[in-house]
Symmetry: C2
Subunit: 393 residues, 2 copies
């Protein structure tokens, strides 16, 4: 056995995440490693918390990155907030609501599922009905931006309803943070988690989370220990928390945190509103091009995410063959369908650094070419023309 | 608020980990991000498994890096192998045995603690006595290289005893892997976990694990679901496992994995035996210098780790002041004591890339200087002279 150094090709990442990563972020990750209790690193952790509070639009002191990917962020929320026997209403409109159910049940909780159509927003009326029927529910959980379908739900309304029934809320903001407004304080979200590899355009591996005082109260008053030692916020906070001396809990992923810090500095430089506007603008250009090619969105316009465009596969097209052409001839990754949507949709991401006109045009041109070669009824050139017109307008 | 890019100083990391990271590893982490299902990345995952099997000296198919730090690797072993009601013998001779107890109990298991003196190896006779007294025990867990004390235990003997009583074994190899022999197959270890930031000299954030067929059998035949969704090996293996098509479970920390791949390529280039010999040689040089200064090791020679040197603080010395001088004047980090050893010892790491003569001499010189300035009774220069003599010999 002799294995050599690994030199990956330079792809354009327009799938459901990871998204393109800025060279600034990649370079930051290669800076010298510090000890996890080095005073210089500890100062950086304070900056990280400030930057994450900015991204989440919150004053929550308990705001930090979990040292593992988004699914560990999800689990951090559930294992800390759900106690055995707790009833949790989970609104499911895609793959990730199903993962929430798994989390609730593995914590010994009772998941009451509110099913919505995949590709649609969570229906507030259905949530209200479920809360009326389950007066003993303690938590409501749902996904803000469903990565499997591209649907956007109305967080403010859903959280408001949950609070009317004295429930805490867990909101999945994995794909929303940095791409569309996520206003933790204004919307009174109790607990939320995100990922670094979507609209923050950092490499995968960390999960920013934020908990308000009501969520903290619930954690402090638990009758049982948190079942995960690694994710127990009572312990993690000894390292990331407050004003006291930081104590070792686990060894933080130092260089990955450098990358996230840089990604958040970039977001701060651009400004949240500008980032949201950029995501919307490039989405509209992509939409113009896709519609000019006769391709159809899965999600109705009013419920559509700008950063995750789920498109129905045209009849008779071999979807995997199209993705293979994009990857081999254009170094371009778009996403396949996930779960019930497998084989039925493509998921085109325009997330973070990847949300730019160059990528919009590359993707349209590549799709146009691939569909043409596969003899799908596409008129060459119309897509790029339509997108350019939208970008100019 | 305006937060700027973070530019860490260049430290020399001679604490209990993270250790110095090779520029090759840091550069690898800054290579272009790929999608977690990209065929090129999937090929790299296969190489990663081959490299980890080499490092662990095993043919175990279930050998891979957990996407989170070593403490999550520990938890991965416990949540998958321990079922509610299972009795687990935990041999504790430092901080990390205590963490094992926490893990057992949070899984609903019963931890039977076998206490050894901190700074000593695990006593095989005590384990045997505990197994005799607890014929219903199902698992034996212990730490190979105790990072909190620098003690090395005899894995082969302890695993042999456990197997005589039909127990599976969980072995913590966080600080041992790459620095001293870890022979998973030859020693018949059932489940083990390590960290990347010790003798593999990678950045922190990943935890290599390996499970043999007996451990896999136990996981497959569980009566209850694994309580962690993120760490459930039945699910993780859909992504990392075997020969079948890889399915999405969580988004792998792509760039961190590039770093680990490169660190393992470096280990392969050097050869395991050479790496072990290098750790031993530099340890002996450090020892010669420290003893010439009159400093004393915590652990008896026969049970001492070459990569983690725990030294008693000389009487009357302000240990934190010494570390502060090392950090500010020499950019040198050594470790403080942990747990019951806090304030009583320094922990000097010579791990992986950091285990080299330059670091030995730097550390001795810096300690000599700091202790001299703090008016401890050290004769200047004797330490470096003694180490040089050992290196030459």
């Amino acid at each position: 056995m002799t294995i050599k150094s690994f030199h990956p090709p330079q792809r354009v990442l327009m799938g459901p995440g990871p998204s393109d990563v800025s060279a600034r972020v990649l370079e930051a990750m290669s800076r010298p490693t510090l000890g996890h209790l080095d005073p210089v690193f500890v100062d950086m952790m304070d900056e990280m918390k400030t930057l994450l509070k900015f991204a989440f639009q919150t004053k929550n002191e308990l705001t930090m990155p979990v040292s593992a990917p988004g699914s560990a962020g999800m689990e951090t929320c559930f294992v800390n907030l759900v106690e055995p026997g707790d009833k949790v209403i989970v609104c499911q409109n895609g793959v990730f609501g199903g993962r929430m159910k798994e989390n609730v049940e593995r914590c010994g909780g009772i998941a009451v599922m509110v099913q919505d159509e995949w590709g649609r927003a969570v229906n507030p009326q259905k949530l209200e009905d479920a809360l009326k029927a389950n007066p003993d529910a303690k938590i409501v959980a749902f996904v803000h931006a469903e990565t499997s379908t591209g649907a956007r739900s109305d967080v403010k309304t859903l959280v408001g309803i949950a609070h009317n029934y004295n429930c805490l809320t867990i909101v999945d903001a994995v794909t929303s943070l940095g791409g569309i407004p996520v206003k933790v304080d204004e919307w009174s979200i109790d607990a939320t988690y995100s990922g670094t590899q979507k609209c923050l355009s950092c490499t995968p591996g960390l999960s920013p989370v934020s908990f308000n005082s009501n969520a903290q109260e619930k954690i402090k008053n638990r009758q049982s220990k948190v079942q995960s030692w690694f994710m127990d916020l009572n312990l993690v906070m000894g390292y990331w928390g407050g004003t006291t001396k930081r104590a070792y809990h686990h060894t933080a992923p130092i260089n990955a945190l450098y990358g996230l810090h840089e990604a958040l500095v970039i977001l701060q430089e651009e400004g949240l509103e500008n980032a949201w506007a950029r995501h919307q603008k490039n989405h509209l250009a992509l939409r113009a091009g896709l519609e000019a090619m006769g391709l159809k969105f899965v999600v109705p316009e009013a419920e559509r995410l700008p950063q995750l465009n789920a498109i129905s596969i045209p009849e008779g097209v071999d979807e995997a063959a199209v993705r293979a052409i994009l990857l081999s001839d254009y170094q371009l990754e778009i996403g396949a369908g996930l779960g019930a949507m497998a084989g039925k949709v493509w998921r085109i991401g325009l997330m973070g650094y990847a949300s730019n006109p160059r990528n919009v045009l590359l993707c349209l041109n590549a799709l146009d070419d691939a569909l043409g070669r596969l003899k799908a009824p596409i008129t060459r050139g119309v897509a790029v023309d339509a997108a350019n017109k939208q970008l100019a307008g």
